[in-house]
Amino acid sequence: MGDHHPTGFTRWLYTTNHKDIGSMYLWFSFVMFLIGGAMAMVIRAELYQPGLQFVEPNFFNQMTTMHGLIMVFGAVMPSMVGLANWLIPMMIGAPDMALPRMNNWSFWILPFAFFLLLSSLFMEGGAPNFGWTFYAPLSTTFGPPSTDFFILGVHMMGISSIMGAINVIVTVFNMRAPGMTLMKMPLFVWTWLITAFLLIMVMPVLAGTVTMMLTDRHFGTAFFDAAGGGDPVMFQHIFWFFGHPEVYIMILPAFGVVSEIIPTFSRKKLFGYSSMVYATASIALLSFIVWAHHMFAVGMPVAGELFFMIATMLIAVPTGVKVFNWVATMWQGSLTFETPMLFSIAFVILFTIGGFSGVMLAMAPVDFQYHDTYFVVAHFHYVLFPGAIFGTTAAVYYWLPKWAGKMYNETAGKIHFWLSMIFVNLTFFPMHFSGLAGMPRRIPDYNMMFADFNMWASIGAFGLGLTQIYFLVIVLLTLKNGKKAEDKQWEGASGLEWDALPSPAPYHTFSTPPKVD
């Protein structure tokens, strides 16, 4: 089969090719990343010093809300789906995803979903302003009119994610090349398989939650309204039943990515492959019974608080296993430090720091002091930015030679890494301190005592923002005039995509399944 396909816009609109769709997902998520990032810049500009300088509080709340929603649903999740599309078929020796037409559909829903969501910024009353966690009754009784657009947008991106997840599961179960047993699959495929199961378990719950919001707002139900016999705390329970697994949905594929990259540049096999698989599965299972650690302050009985505290702390065990395994993979390896490896190492270190603050937050009696302060903001940005986003960045540098057949400029990559590394810490580390000093999250103005930390964080954020634009430049330059990449660009790489395919990977791959021994 040749590389025949339509060209121009219709190629992208009608495509059912996993590589095209993967690229679209990645580009879409990068656009969202820049939009969400621009909102973060507004937030950090306002918080640069005490006093209200640029925006009024209501718009500030819209910015924090939209920043959260866009980064979670528009940047991180689609970028992971993009990686899955590109890599899973090549890694398991399949010609394409199992359900190519659904694949096309699940991508093309997204631009419309985010068009709806973003259009709310221009509506009377403004965009949703109740935080990405949209707690009732602030979002139900007191939500702006655009809340309905938000609900519809969430439904659409939920459907898109669910279809993406179905596709991954069916592909992994039914499309593996002969001989590719489950326990031979690359770890990235495993982490994505588990992520896909998490998605189909919790995205419907999110859909249920926003549906209840909609009926509460317009059809006289009172799921979350105390006056009608409902319970606003109930909202938080349902939301976090979705929300906590969602956290792992965003991070597990990144675990998979670094589990591919670290062995390559250590020139050594991944340490403890099967324990990695089991650890990932245990993290996923545990994620269903820890949700209420987000709500220690709502007034649960002590027994409930104890249960959720202990269950949450238990997550540290499988997560620890993963970190130790990565370290053991590097131990006595033969290490080199190309850009993907640098991002992966930073991932391991900074994600672990985020994990440490996670254990601190899990301890209910001290959580009363951390809860809803900047300490929490520092914690989840440490697991999301140097976690999920560094993971994706590492993946792009690592597989770009395979995808595009061109090699990025290593010096430029390293500059991008070091700038990211410095600025990410400058942005988010001081937030630990402002949180401990007592600064609540989601406030547009603050007392002088938090000023220094916020100034540093803002400077870091501006640098971090610009650095990501530099990343765009690097990728564009690579695509335009990068050096030709080798079929197996990385000396220590293994896996079907490197061993059995040329660079760039042709439009159709593995039309006849490869042999796996």
Binding site: P57, N58, N61, E124, G125, N129, F130, Y135, P137, L138, F142, P232, V233, K268, K269, F271, G272, S275, A297, V298, G299, V302, E305, L306, M309, I310, M313, A316, V317, G320, V321, N325, A328, M330, W331, Q332, G333, S334, L335, T336, F337, I345, F356, V359, M360, M363, P365, V366, F368, Q369, D372, L436, A437, G438, R441, R442, I443, Y446, N447, M448
Partner: protein, 377 residues
């Protein structure tokens, strides 16, 4: 000899200076230990976790850094072949479990202590609403709203952390707080007391504190910590602690004030106010209570907070205008100001709204009108 002694003393003082500097810097960066027994224990637990985490980082990151240096390709060209070891994997599953157990035990003890609000010596109902706190002393006839003091600027030490009426509590007394809300969820937090409880409409939550006698006279400041709408960042919590005797005196004074205020209100209501007086007081009340939402220029932030300039309410019948200010409007952000303001203040603010921003209806609303409205129902 003398020189050496001087040298030693010099070094010692230099060391103390450096040490104090480090301690000072570290405490600026760290959580505050607070003033109560529970807040101190929470702080100790926090420090304990921090040190455990530091120890783990030293081991894990140390091993990584060792690899970076000694197992780089230039130093270690042939990689080892091992890829698993059941024993090692067992060890690093079990050790974290042991560490977690070590951390859990004190956490469980402290949690049970913090959640035990039984046998209080006094109780205060704390009600959050957009965007102020209301405190009601259940055993006494005292209750008041606590609003942000908007006169402070960024330069002031307590910018955004000062209120018109602070919560006053006695030292050396177990005070129970019954926390609730009357619109959306808020959260009442005082870091120095290690008290944080969500205020949820329709539900009450209990929490408590007991401040040692030596802290009488001090003031502790916190903020609302649950996003509650536009002015979430502008509803501080201020708690002032008095000695038991001073607290009694304060209660007595509050009683006197209340009687005096009732008398003053009655007198004010009996008078007929002229336009200028109504407008002056009206502007004052408007800026303090209404301007946050309806804006100082009367243009509001529609659609949530409608404009008052040229509005049908401000230009329409007086009675409907009094009704909405006194009784509020359900399903919107408009609270009932009847219980919060005196009749004179209500009359003044309504007059102001009907005449400011070129509304110019010329209507004068008298305190007696408000009285008549309230009685006439």
């Amino acid at each position: 000899m003398a020189i050496r002694r001087k040298l030693i003393a010099g070094i010692a003082s230099l060391l103390t200076f450096v040490f104090n500097g480090v301690v000072q810097a570290a405490s600026d960066l760290n959580m505050r230990p607070g003033v109560t027994e529970t807040s101190n224990e929470a702080f100790n637990l926090h420090m304990m976790v921090v040190w455990v985490m530091v120890a783990i980082s030293v081991v894990v990151f140390g091993a990584m850094i060792y690899s970076f240096i000694f197992h780089r390709k230039s130093k270690h060209p042939t990689p080892a072949k091992f890829s698993h070891s059941t024993l090692v994997e067992m060890i690093w599953t079990i050790i974290p479990i042991l560490i977690l157990i070590y951390l859990t035990i004190p956490a469980v003890k402290l949690l049970i202590k913090m959640e035990d609000a039984s046998n209080p010596e006094m109780s205060i109902q704390v009600t959050g609403s957009q965007w102020k706190w209301h405190y009601k002393y259940l055993e006494h006839d005292v209750d008041f709203f606590s609003n942000l003091d908007r006169s402070l600027t960024e330069k002031d030490e307590n910018y955004l952390l000062e209120v018109d009426n602070a919560l006053i509590i006695p030292a050396d007394t177990k005070v129970r707080f019954l926390v609730t809300a009357s619109d959306v969820i808020h959260s009442w937090w005082v870091p120095d007391l290690a008290v944080k409880k969500d205020a949820i409409p329709g539900f009450i939550n209990e929490t408590w504190t007991s401040i040692p006698a030596e802290h009488a006279g001090k003031t502790f400041r916190g903020q609302c910590t649950e996003l509650c709408g536009k002015d979430h960042g502008f509803m501080p919590v201020v708690v002032k602690v008095l000695s038991k005797a001073d607290f009694k005196a304060w209660l007595a004074q509050k009683d006197e004030e209340r009687i005096a205020a009732e008398k003053a209100a009655a007198e004010a209501a009996a008078q007929s106010w002229d336009m200028e007086k109504l407008m002056t007081l009206g502007k004052e009340v408007y800026d303090a209570k209404c301007g946050m939402c309806h804006q100082a220029n009367g243009l509001g932030l529609p659609p949530a907070f409608p404009a008052l300039k040229d509005s049908p309410i401000a230009l329409g019948p007086v009675e409907a205008h009094i009704d909405i200010v006194v009784n509020g409007k359900s399903g919107t952000g408009m609270a009932a100001y009847g219980p919060q303001l005196t009749d004179a203040e209500l009359a003044a603010v309504i007059t102001y709204e009907r005449n400011a921003w070129e509304n110019n209806t010329g209507d004068k609303v008298q305190p007696a009108d408000i009285q008549a409205f309230k009685a006439g129902n």
